[in-house]
Symmetry: none
Subunit: 205 residues, 4 copies
DNA sequence: GGATAATCGAGACGGTACGTCCAGTCTTTGG
DNA sequence: CCAAAGACTGGACGTACCGTCTCGATTATCC
């Protein structure tokens, strides 16, 4: 109930038994409805009642499959976005990372980015939902960056003494910061400025 | 009513007339109560009803002074934190920035950091509150970094082609990212790793 | 403050001093605004705030002139209706009383009748307002009937052993009953049936 | 939701399905609490919040069962009064009607009569509540008079050309009028005077 | 003719109740 | 036996209006 397995695994309730076809149908129906609601009105529209009404899955059943409404939304959103941002391959490490930052920035600036920020916000006060969000969305994103990073490491282009997590946070944290606070817009130029600064450092050498 | 003035100014209602003492008393009482509630139970505890009950200020009046509960909390929090993080002065630009990142990281990791993340989360779905949060909290924080940054510029230590906003986001965005998602802890070591990476860049020179 | 003088006298506050012209202006302005509000939205529209806003008379002043909003409305309504129903003179006592009942029935069925019922309803939980309603509206209506009744007495047409109050209540109480409960419509036919029954009695002679 | 069924039927929500015991329990609990509140402080005491607090039924549920607080109170009051006024049987039609008027007058003069007037007043500005009041209280009272009236008709004691509704309004309208306006007291003598006048007519024969 | 004191407009304020919304739990019934 | 249906509690929301209050500005009579 509290251990989301993520894309590579299985959602918690599914292990209880050797796969009940009805459970799967129900699970998918709920996610489909949630996806639609997220598209139409963002996270605020994806209330438990709305999901139940639209999917035909009862509220009680929803709570058997997920710990909270945020969790449902996180899983639905994560699936939707699974392959939304393809890995860039520009030939150079710097180009790849720059391209990735630009893509993610555009994603954040899109309607889906709004949902992303709403889910991130909801995760703050809903640890159960946060776990699902990490498992179904963030993990795959970080994995993508890890691939790029390791490609750069193999080429000797990036500092070997920098952790991949640190690198990821440095490249995308600033975008998230802007997205959440709204103090500055998420333009391509801004994304590029941030990426360049991250890649080359803030200090004069 | 919708234009939070921030620390340097006055909250909206106070301009209407040549200062109504009652308004000021009420305003302060509400903020005091809110501060206490935030300390005790974080943002979730600072409901409008609770603020009204504890402060003796009626709900209707609260809504005349602020557009939403997030806004009250943001102003209360901003005042509380006004001078919580003193500017470091280590003698070197790198030392100052490193120290500042470490201080902010510790702040985020503290109970106040939790409130910060809750306010940031609430800002996502409450534009009125977000304005207050920016005006009463974020602005002063960014101003502090700006001071350090300009000090570094004067010394010729930092890249002149990097915007101060970009620099700020790069240094603190990663911390915010970790705070919000909880995917990684906010330790001193992590803060230092992020800061060093930001200062020296991710790429091999 | 609690003793409405009625049409023949003066409202309470006016006695305090040898007539302040401003008081009179204020009084009239409030009543004018209230009349307009009653016409537009009935008693529910005549809130103290609305009266104050429309008349330019402050709320505090309103409460110096009247004990409650119902009282203001009652006085405004009473003045408006002062000469709305002229005394019939058909030549016969029965004709006069029948005509009067018909006129009053039509009045109750009109928009003003709605306001009447609202005032009557408000009087139930507002004794201060009730006094004004009786003084400024009901009294003059009862006086009119008294005139007819005494005319009938002089002619020897009506039972001398029946009190004028009893007669008044008998003729108009049924109409008020219908107006308040809405269980039956207030048509001319119904009014006539009631009046005839009242005049000739329910029992076979 | 808007069609009160009255004593002979069932409140709206109960038809949805073949009897939900929970609904019934909740319904009764709300009515019990309301009855108690009415007894203690009349209609003003029977606020939705108070009913919810005392009965343990949540406000949301109350609004699912009744359209307004007046409706709850009307149903509670109607049940309470269901058999409060037994039908008189004096042997003569005139005696029965006189007795009934006297009983009703005493009822109006009692604390319950105050509640009655408050409900009637509330019905004026609350059509939803009015329907409940008519269905749960007024209807049964009118039915009682109808019985007496028909008894009189069978005996040939009462005018056959007078409608039972007209007769009812004529006998009780005056009492209601006095109750609502308070211009005259509701004594036994007054009741008798009114009843005699109604039975024998106002005009000299 | 200026001082004195009531009177007023403006509107902030506490208080009470409203009616609504949603989360999450629990009960009943049908397949 | 599981799931749909949906009733239910609990708690917060934001609004409306009441009647009281404080504040200055404005008279208008009296000295």
């Amino acid at each position: 109930m509290t251990d989301p397995a993520g894309p590579g695994g299985q959602a918690h309730a599914l292990f209880a038994r050797p796969v009940k076809p009805r459970s799967i149908k129900v699970h998918e129906a709920a996610l489909d409805a949630t996806r639609a609601l997220l598209r139409e009105g963002g996270l605020p529209a994806a209330t438990i009642d709305a999901i139940a009404a639209r999917s035909g899955v009862s509220k009680a059943t929803l709570y058997k499959h997920w710990p909270s409404r945020t969790a449902v939304a996180a899983e639905a959103f994560g699936r939707d976005m699974a392959d939304a941002v393809p890995l860039p391959d520009t030939g150079t490490t710097e180009g790849d990372l720059l391209a990735q930052v630009r893509l993610v920035s555009r994603f954040y600036a899109s309607p889906e980015g709004t949902v992303f920020s709403q889910l991130l916000a909801a995760s703050v006060t809903d640890e159960g939902g946060a776990a699902y969000f990490r498992a179904w969305f963030l993990a795959s994103r970080r994995a993508a960056v890890r691939t790029l990073w390791e490609r750069g490491l193999a080429r000797g282009d990036v500092r070997a003494d920098v952790d991949v997590d640190t690198a990821t946070d440095l490249l995308f944290g600033p975008l998230v910061f802007r997205l959440m606070t709204g103090h500055l817009p998420l333009t391509d130029d801004a994304a590029e400025a941030v990426a360049r600064a991250a890649l080359h450092g803030l200090l004069e050498e």
